[in-house]
């Protein structure tokens, strides 16, 4: 992926956006998952309704959020309610799809967002991560789950250090139902190099789609188990100009996708406010 006209983050957001369908209700975490949700709303799924765990249901999405409780999460919402109520609505089965990030994933789609142990353990980890937040709840009880993370060394592992969010657990038939979980589990894993799905009979993750210019061997070398490849392995199309325009308009100051570097390029708060209002459509 050399001198392309798009970044890996932009392609991840576009690939994830395609997982949303019009009129679905989606529970979306902050960061690139949210950019994907806004992109889908502005592109192929205008009636997608996003729900935030703070208690915001169906906001207009004029501007990107940096936290699930930013007031932007409530802009023009259809319903503003409580946290326990939206989790209960999730448990009732009202929500179709959730999108989650993770630090580690295993071959059955179990996620770790709690701690990277390194040579140590849960109590004194090498890296303490934020914890479940609402991730476990989404993985437990929502219709289907889309996972987003970069395909980098030590992220796709045989066994996660800490199982925060359930995928297909040990992969055995009906493992989720036996544990008492309500949702149907992970449907896709979107990375910066390829998209993975899950075999419906073995519950094991397999390589479904590679991105333009990516080599299958490179992907296999980054996965910590003997990765199975779809017999009809697909190659993702290059993102169109329209898709790129939609994703960029969803994060106009580039603060989610561009991180610290983009923040430092802004002259100050006034420029950020001007860009946000100009691109909001309101």
């Amino acid at each position: 992926m050399g001198n392309q006209k798009y970044t890996a983050s932009e392609l991840m957001a576009i690939m994830t956006a395609k997982e949303f369908r019009d009129w679905e209700v989606a529970f979306v975490g902050i960061g690139i998952p949210l950019v994907a949700g806004i992109t889908a709303k502005r592109f192929h799924a205008p009636n997608l309704n996003i729900v935030y765990e703070s208690g915001c249901i169906g906001p207009q999405k004029y501007r990107v959020d940096f936290n699930v409780g930013d007031s932007s999460a409530a802009d023009g919402a259809l319903c503003l309610t409580s946290e326990w109520r939206v989790f209960s609505d999730m448990q009732c089965g009202y929500y179709n799809v959730g999108v989650l990030g993770a630090a580690q994933v295993d071959k059955y789609g179990n996620l770790n967002t709690t701690a990277i142990f390194g040579d140590q353990d849960y109590h004194s980890p090498k890296v303490r991560l934020p914890g479940s937040g609402g991730g476990n709840d989404i993985g437990s009880n929502i219709g289907r789950v889309v996972v987003m993370l970069r395909l980098e060394p030590l992220r796709f592992v045989e066994k996660v250090d800490y199982l925060t969010t359930p995928g297909f657990l040990d992969g055995s038939p009906n493992a989720r139902k036996k544990a008492g979980l309500l949702g149907s589990g992970p449907a896709a894993v979107v990375t910066d190099k390829a998209l993975f799905r899950f075999d419906t009979s073995t519950n094991e993750m397999y390589l479904d789609t590679i991105y333009p210019g990516v080599d299958v061997q490179d992907i296999k070398s980054l996965v910590g188990w003997e990765l199975k490849i779809a017999p009809d392995l697909k190659v993702a199309p290059e993102p169109t100009d329209e898709e790129l325009a939609a994703v960029r308009a969803s994060d106009p100051a580039n603060l989610i996708m561009g991180g610290v570097a983009a923040r430092k390029r802004l002259s100050g708060l006034d420029e950020y406010i001007e860009i946000t209002i100009k691109n909001s459509g309101k």
């Binding site: 703070s54 930013d70 479940s132 008492g180 979980l181």
Partner: protein
Amino acid sequence: MNGNNNANKQMTLKDAIGKFVKDDCSITFGGFIGRDCVAAVHEIIRQGIKNLTVIDDSKTDMMDLLVGAGAVKRWEGAYLGYGAIGLAPNIRRSVEKGIPAKIEMEDWSNAGISMRYLAGSLNIPFMATKSMLGTDIVKYNQRIKIINDPYEGEPVALVPAAHPDVAIIHVQRADAMGNAQVWGFTGNDENKARAAKHTIITCEEIVSTDEIRRQGNMTLIPFYCADAVVQVPYGCHPQSCYGYYAYDVLFCGDYHESAKDRDQFLRWLDRYVFGSADHADYCAKVGWSRLQNLMTMERHFNRIPG
């Protein structure tokens, strides 16, 4: 329990924190990374309160500050990060390296904590949830009990009621009785206020009781739950307050960079917290015109009626 009912609950933030937040107490904060009680957290740090047990769902700035300042002994909660900006630097230093002290961590999910506060607000001992089943959250947190439900026989997780000593909730407006009105999302605030032994309401504006009566639907927390009412304009900065001001992403970005280094964090704390007599002093350091711009931005998108 009518000894708490009067129309004279208004006090300063200094007095409210001093009266209700003690060393070794348990505490929870309203908001959900938005409408956060940042001003109250600064005051807790200024007063040097220690050994807090925080029972909460998801927090960013507030817990990073409290842990970095050495005010926290134990966390029972779901999320301690820094939103889309990254991981929380002081949380990492504490848990990984014990600097300035290692906090005890008890992990829950957001729905799990929500059910703990729902149980607390119902005054029943526990609540059941279909979250956390089959995971390491249950393995490391022995207070979550998995049972087969006595009616249908399916597995379900039980979580104990939360009853912190103190809840601090920031709202858009309240009266001197303690009727607290909230616009935007409400998080777990109505349950936190009911589950706690004492509740401090901080607010952007104090209004008359007649004004409260005009929109009784907006009263999330009725007077009998509140022990103190404190007006603290811009009390959530750098977090957002729906209808009042937007999230200050650039201020948070700068904080995050500073907090990665312990000495720089301590200088930040000296400048903005210990070096400020009160929240108005903090606001002056942030810059009143900057705060005004955040308000202008927010009101472009959200304007509270009336």
